[in-house]
Amino acid sequence: MPKSLLIALKDLTLAFRDVGGLLLMLLAPFALTVGIGLVTGRFSGDSSTGLSQIPVVLVNNDDGDLGRVLVETFASADLADLLEPKTVTDEAAARAAIDADEAAAAVIVPAGFSTAIFEAVADAPSIELVLNPERPVSAGVVQSIVESLLSRIEVGRVSGQVAVEQLLQTGRITPDQAEAIGREFGEQQAGTAGSAITIRRVDVSGRAAEAFDVLTIIAPGFALMFLMFTVTNAGRTIIQERLNGTLPRLLAAPIGAGEVLGGKLLGIFLIGVAQVAILILANGALFGVDWGEPVAVIALVLASAAGAAGWGALLAALAQSPAQISGLGSALMLIFGILGGSLGNQIALPDMLLPVAWLTPNYWGIQGFAALGTGASLAEIAPDLGALLAMAAALFGVAIVAFRRRGLV
C-alpha cells in the first residue's frame, strides 16, 4: 500500500478516536438537522415530503410569452403538491401578503419583460422576487424555481443570438430576416421553457412526481458547515504533528517529503468524505431522505469533501499555530455557513455578497444536494461538481506551494 495512503488512513483512525472531535463532526450537525427538521414540520404528520403547498403570490404585468410561461410553470401539475400559487394584479396586495406572512414569496413580472428580453434591450426590467424572511426555506424553493426558469430562458436567448449571428455572417440570411428569426426563436424558447423546469422524477416506473424534501437542503447544509470544522481540524494536525515531533520523524523515514504532504492532504480529504457520507447515510436511514441517484450522490460527497479539504489545507499552510487554525477554522465554518446557505437561504445577504458565496463549498454542495433531491441526474449537477473540484484543485495547489515555501514539509 502506498505510504501516503497509510498516512491518510492513520489520520482517519485518529480522527475517529477523538471523542470531542466526533461530537462536532457528527453529533452536532445531526442534532441541528433534527432540530430544524422539527421546526419546519418535517417530522410531523404522516407526510414524508416536509415542504408542501408553499403559498406563492404571482403578479404578471407582462403581456408577452415569458410572463405567461412563468405563471403556467408555477401552476403546472408537477408543482401542484409543492406550490400553492395565487395570481393577483396588484403589486401592493402581493407585498401585503408577504408582510402578513400569508405567502412565502411574491414573484412580480414587470410590464414589457418579454419584449425587452427578446429584443435584448440594454436596461431590461428585472423580475422582482419578494421573499418572506419568516419562511427562508420555502422562499428559497421559490427563488430556485424562478432562477432556474430565467436561466433556461437566458441560455436559449444567447444560443439563439449566436446562431442568428452565424447565419448572418455566412450570408445565409439578410439583416431583415435575422430580426424575424431571432424573435421567432426566442418565442419558441419561451414556449418550451416551462417544461424544462418541472420537478423531476427519480425513476420512470410511473411513480408520483418526486416531492421536495426540506431535509435535502438542511441535512447537507449542516453537514457541509461542520465539514469545514472537520477539515480545518484535520489540517491542524499538520502543524500539530510538526510540534509533536511525529512529522520530523516521518521526514527522517525513507519516504519523500511529497509523499508525506500528499498523505496528510489525502487524510484531510478522507476524513471529510467519511463525515459527510456518514451524515448522508444516517439521514437517509433514519428519516427516509431520498438523496437521489446514488452515483451522483457519491460524486457530490467526494467533490464537496475535496472542496472543503482544500480550504482546510490552505488554512494549515498559512496559519502559524494549531490555536490559530482552530480559531480561523471556527470563523470560516460560520462565515461559510452563512454565505453558503448552510444556515438558511442567503436571502438576507446583500446582493454584493452573493458572489462571495461561490467561494464556499457549502454553496455548491447544497445546490447539488437540493437538485439531486428533486431528481436531478449526475450530468445536471456537473456545474456544482466542476466548481467544487476546481475549488479543490486551486486551494490544494496554493497550499502545497505555501507548505513548500515555509519549509513545513
Binding site: M1, K3, L6, K10, T13, L14, R17, D18, N244, G245, T246, P248, R249, L250, L251, A252, A253, P254, I255, G256
Partner: protein
Amino acid sequence: MKNILVARDLRKTYGENEAVKGVSFEIKAGEIFSLLGPNGAGKTTTISMLSGLIAPTAGDADIAGHSIVRDSLRVRERIGVVPQEIALYDDLTARENLTFWGQMYGLSGGRLKTRIAAVLEQIGLSDRANERIKTYSGGMKRRVNIGVGLLHEPQLLFMDEPTVGIDPQSRRAILDTVKALNTQGMAVLYTTHYMEEAAELSDRVGIIDHGKMIALGTQRELAQQIGGRETLSLHIGDDQNSQALAEVVRGLPGVDQASAMDHTVSVIVASAAEALAPVVGAASANGFRIRGVEVTEPDLESVFLHLTGRALRD
C-alpha cells in the same frame, strides 16, 4: 574496523547564526559514539543533518557508503532515529504505533509482525502492547519511542538525548537497552549532556561546544588531554555563593580552571596535594565555609571544564 559514518566539515547556518561550525568525525561499525555537550551546543542540529531532516549548509557525510546530501533516501533506509521528544501518536496503541512506523520503513506482512513482536519483547512492553500510548508513563513512552527506531534493524541508530526528563529506573532501562543493542552489532550515535551516560556507554566521545567539536577520542585519550591534572570538588553550604568562590580560587597558583554548579565548585589543578591547602585557605579567608572536599581522577566533566572553562551543565 570499517566506518559506518564519516562526517566531513558539516556546517549549518540559520541567518546570522552558525549553529554547527564545521564538525568532522567518524563512527566505526558496531561502536557507541557519544556526542557530549551542553544544551545548545549543536548536538541536535548535527544529528538532524545526519538523519536527513535538515540539509547541511556545507559539508557532507557518508553513512553506510551513501552521501546524506546526494543520497538521502538510501541513508534514511539504513539509519534508525530516536528523537529527543516522544514522537508517537497518543491515540494509537503501542502496537499500532509500531505497525505504522514499521510500514513507513518499508516493513509489511510477516516480517512486520515478527519485528513488532521482537521489539515489544526488547522494550519490555509485550503485555501492554494493545494499550493506547496516552495511558503510558513517561518512561514507557520513551521505550516505545526507542522501539520505533529499532523496527527495521538499522545499521546505525541515532539517539538524541533519550533520557531527558525521565525517572532513574527508566533511564537505567534505556542505558541497558543501548548496551544490548551494541552487543548485537548495532552502531549507536548517542547525544547527551550527561557526562555519566557518555562515560558509561561510549567507546569514543566527541565533545561539542558552540557548534564546534573541541575534543574527540576514547575517554582515556580525552583524559590525557588535560595531562596529569586532578579535580578538586569543593562542597559548600546552601547559603553560600559557589560562583563567587570559583572566582576566588580561579587566580590561585596551580589552579587551571574553576567552575561552579549548584553548591559545588570544581577546580582543575596540576597537583591536588599541592593545591589543596592554598585553595581551602583562600576560601576560608574570603568567608566561605567548606563542608567537604573530594579529589577525583580526570573525567569527561574535567575535560570539558579544562577545554571551555565551564561546567557541562552551566
